[in-house]
């Protein structure tokens, strides 16, 4: 087991390194020179040169690459061209903001979803099962930016009862992250984006739960429970569901990893100051350090959570992979 762990960690580090390299060169070679955006404001050639030196852009790309790796090793992510401030602090702040929206949404989806899945199995063969599946698939088909716009249209513009933009009402003096989110005002801002994301996520745990339950139900011990005279509800929730939960939990971990970078559009629609929106902006303005850092954080989250799933599961069971297909 220990050697397996060591191998897995080595593999993790290697994968991470490949992604770092990929991202670094993709941005350098693909995006326009970041100083060009400044020229509209009438910078002289000498000044452009100075700016380039200041951000280390005058070095050959391969040298920049080693500087980048070296800095990364010491936890230094560079200075954002746009904010003229260290990237690390901003990225961590944005990451927390994203999590503040995604985690409640995932929590909601992964408590409500499996419960609904159990209900569907219970009512199998009836119209309600069919209706549940259909509704679940419809929720999963509706693009989040569209449901987000509808939600804003109805609750924000139409009824005017919920804020539709940002994560708090300004001006606001907050000393730390928890000050920021432990307020009623934050909750009001959270409701719409959270519900939109949860509605999108809920179908997957529901359907996984149902599918796994269907397999479990046939097993002998369920028959045994019935023979013992347990109520249907007890059979379903206490015994069948418990055995079907593992794939759902696994899927929850995978979803969490993806969610960090996966919902740029929700952050855009709700003007949520999260990691995805920051990355979108950074790439558009050729803010390499910022774009790299956001991307590295996203990839890192996915890698770490997938790694944990792997650890729990030993080797990836094909069926678990199957479940992650639709994420």
């Amino acid at each position: 087991m220990r050697s397996y762990l060591a191998a897995r960690i080595a593999q993790l580090v290697l994968t991470f390194f490949v992604i770092l390299t990929l991202v670094f060169f993709l941005f350098r070679l693909g995006l326009p020179d970041p100083t060009s955006a400044l020229i509209t404001e009438g910078l002289s050639q000498e000044d452009i040169q100075r700016t380039r030196e200041r951000f280390g852009l005058d070095l050959p790309v391969w040298q920049q690459y080693f500087v980048f790796l070296g800095n990364l090793f010491t936890g230094e992510l560079g200075t954002s061209f746009h904010y003229r401030a260290p990237v690390g602090f901003i990225v961590v702040d944005r990451l927390l903001n994203t999590l503040a929206m995604m985690l409640p949404a995932i929590l909601l989806a992964y408590t409500l979803g499996p419960a609904l899945g159990v209900q569907l199995t219970w009512k199998r063969g009836r119209g309600i099962e069919r209706g549940g599946i259909t509704l679940g698939l419809i929720l999963r088909s509706a693009p989040v930016f569209w449901t987000g716009m509808l939600a804003i249209f109805v609750f924000g513009v139409g009824l005017g009862i919920l804020p539709t933009s940002g994560m708090r009402t300004l001006p606001y003096e907050a000393s730390g992250f928890f000050d920021k989110i432990l307020t009623l005002d934050f909750l009001r801002h959270l409701i719409l984006p959270m519900l939109v994301v949860a509605a999108y996520y809920i179908a997957l745990p529901m359907l996984i739960m149902r599918n796994t339950m269907l397999e479990v139900i046939g097993d002998d011990f369920i028959e045994f429970c019935r023979a013992r005279g347990f109520s249907e509800a007890r059979t379903m929730y206490r015994h069948a569901a418990r055995n079907a939960l593992l794939p759902v939990v696994t899927q929850a971990a995978v979803t969490t990893g993806l969610a960090v970078g996966g919902q740029i559009v929700v952050e855009v629609v709700f003007s949520w100051p999260g990691l995805g929106r920051e990355m979108f902006q950074a790439v558009q303005t050729s803010d390499y350090p910022m774009a790299q850092a956001t991307f590295i954080f996203m990839a890192g989250m996915i890698l770490v959570l997938n790694f944990l799933v792997d650890l729990v599961y030993g080797r990836l069971d094909p069926r678990v992979a199957d479940a992650s297909v639709r994420s």
Binding site: R140, F280, A321
Partner: protein, 579 residues
């Protein structure tokens, strides 16, 4: 292959939802294929409407805009008996009598641009030097067309005391009329297009025109007023006490005090040297201006229904309840008749028989855009899914069969792909290579084959141990033959399932990229329609703009999901027996 298709069909037929899904998908494919036939409008066309509208102001409030002619109306005048006349394009003459409008039969084809009336005479002027003379009391059908000796468009006319009139027009054209001599062209001494004229008596008045042209008129002679403004002047009025108001482009309003106060004559250009530039609340084009009673109250109107009223020396916006171009106006006793409108873009129209899903902020037909959007969705969805399946299946097959170094290397590659945030990576690819249909397809296709590869590999791993593979190997079949002839048919159900799943993902991904403004430019796509709606800011009022494309995405994706469910049963028969 055909046996597989048959078993897919059987699986779909057995499942009501899958059948529904297939029906929906075929419907969308039909829509996409027949898009040019189904779309009633060019999706890119800025739809315009043309109508002649009249609005009445009774001294206190504005009435409802009324469509009184099928062509734009350019000029109007109010008569003393509460009646009114308006003239417009293609010789339209509309008459207001007893509060009822009548669209009279045209007496000329030429567009009529200017109109004025005194107690008994009414004169309209227009294109190709046309002048139409009539009696207020007679029906428009009896009015008489007179041709002036010019091809220029006459833009305005002013009638004084039934015996004299002055008309002005393009290229400095000025023509005077009197009851005895008829029309006679005058030399204005300018080339600018002249746009407005007002007579204060039979032989005295003011003419205005483009590039700030102002001319004082006196008994057949025109005297230029120097250095008024460089703005185009489109309308002029003179109050009873001699105060002059000029209006024009870019919210230009100029006032001149009565020349009698400064001891000059209105007819001397040099006397008009004390123009006051008034502060305008609007920056758009004023077409015309009228004093309402005294020299202290006035009303100016123009492009896009803008109207401003003068009260206590200050101009304030007036809400006419109309937002299309007002081109001409007439006034009497403090009442105003305003008419318009040029061909206007039919923007943000709610759904109607003409535009089933309404129009965008630029007057484009949303129904047609939605229809065309289905092509992009299916094209990108289909091709990207095909690419994903092609790459994913082959990598999965190879990695699963050649377990050693090749397989390991391939799977490490898959691991790297797994760590990439999908949406973010596709977005970066599109940004780097400039959005185009091809790049969008490639970006989606290149990042999503990983799951297919992993799943296929897992199945191949277990299949490779099965006896028939061993038998084939014993029989001397080559690796590639075993892989593609013996193993592949067994993973095909999974391949088809993955194809469906990939297609659903690709359609959503395309919509997402387009929504972020990274869609292929110049191509309509559902996500792109939503992008434009959000960008314009108008989606907050135009519900018809955001609902159709979203529903179409949802229907298409859910149809594919429904089909995928049946395919899932096919690839994993255990599911079928249990439910």
């Amino acid at each position: 292959m055909s046996t597989w298709l048959r078993s897919i069909w059987r699986a779909i037929r057995a499942d009501g939802l899958a059948l529904t899904g297939l029906g929906l998908l075929l419907g969308i494919i039909t829509i996409a294929a027949a898009a040019p036939l189904l779309a009633p409008h060019d999706p890119n066309e800025i739809n315009e409407r043309v109508e002649g509208v009249a609005l009445l102001y009774d001294g206190a409030s504005w009435g409802e805009p009324e469509i009184v002619a099928d062509q734009p109306l350019n000029a109007a005048t109010l008569l003393d008996d509460a009646g009114g006349v308006a003239v417009g394009e293609a010789g339209r003459i509309a008459v207001l009598a007893d509060e009822e409008w009548e669209d009279a039969a045209p007496v000329t084809d030429a567009s009529l641009v200017g109109l004025d009336a005194d107690s008994s005479t009414v004169i309209a002027v227009g294109a190709e030097g046309t002048a139409v003379h009539g009696q207020v009391a007679s029906a428009p059908e009896e009015w008489e067309v007179q041709g002036l000796d010019t091809d220029a468009v006459l833009r305005d006319v002013s009638v004084a005391g039934d015996e004299a009139a002055l008309a002005v027009g393009d290229d400095g054209t000025v023509a005077a009329w009197d009851a005895t001599h008829g029309w006679e062209l005058l030399d204005s001494g300018v080339d600018a297009h002249l746009r407005g004229v007002r007579l204060t008596g039979p032989g005295e008045g003011v003419v205005v025109g483009e590039q700030g042209t102002v001319l004082a008129y006196a008994d057949g002679a025109l005297d230029p007023v120097p250095n008024v403004t460089f703005r185009d002047l489109l309308g002029v009025d003179v109050a009873d006490d001699g105060t002059v108001l000029l209006v024009g482009e870019r919210g230009t309003i100029l006032r001149h005090p009565p020349v009698t106060e400064t001891g000059g004559e209105l007819s001397e250009g040099g006397a008009l040297g004390a123009w006051e530039e008034m502060r305008s609340p609007e920056s758009r084009v004023y077409e015309d201006v009228r004093f309402l009673g005294g020299a202290d109250t006035a009303l100016a109107l123009g492009e896009r229904g803008i109207a401003v009223g003068l009260e206590d020396g200050v101009w304030e916006r007036v809400d006419t309840g109309y937002s299309r171009s007002l081109l001409g106006m007439g006034s009497a006793d403090g009442r105003v008749l305003a008419v318009g409108t040029e061909p206007y873009q039919n923007e943000l129209a709610a759904p109607s028989a003409d535009h089933w899903f309404g129009t965008t902020h630029l007057g484009r037909d949303i129904f047609s855009q939605t229809i065309w959007g289905s092509r992009t969705a299916l094209l990108v969805g289909g091709l990207a899914a095909l690419m994903v399946t092609l790459i994913g299946t082959n990598i999965g097959l190879i990695a699963g069969y050649f377990k050693g170094r090749t397989g390991g290397l391939l799977m490490r590659f898959v691991d790297v792909m797994y760590a990439l945030p999908l949406e973010a990576f596709a977005l970066i690819l599109v940004l780097i290579f400039r959005p185009s249909l091809l790049i969008v397809i490639l970006a989606i296709g290149l990042v999503t084959w990983r799951t297919t590869a992993r799943l296929i590999r897992a199945q191949v791993l277990s299949l490779a141990e099965r006896p028939f593979v061993k038998a084939a190997r014993v029989a001397g079949a080559s690796d590639w033959r075993i892989l593609y002839v013996h193993i592949m048919p067994n993973v095909l159900p999974l391949v088809f399932l993955q194809l469906a799943v990939a297609m659903a993902f690709a359609i959503t991904a395309e919509a997402t990229l387009s929504f972020l403004g990274l869609g292929p430019p110049g191509v309509y796509s559902w996500g792109g329609i939503l992008h434009e709606a959000r960008l314009s800011g108008a989606w907050r009022v135009a519900w018809w703009w955001i609902i159709p494309p979203g529903i179409m995405i949802m229907i298409t994706v859910v149809a594919v999901f429904f089909i995928a469910r049946a395919l899932e049963v096919l690839s994993n028969p255990r599911l079928a027996t249990k439910s």
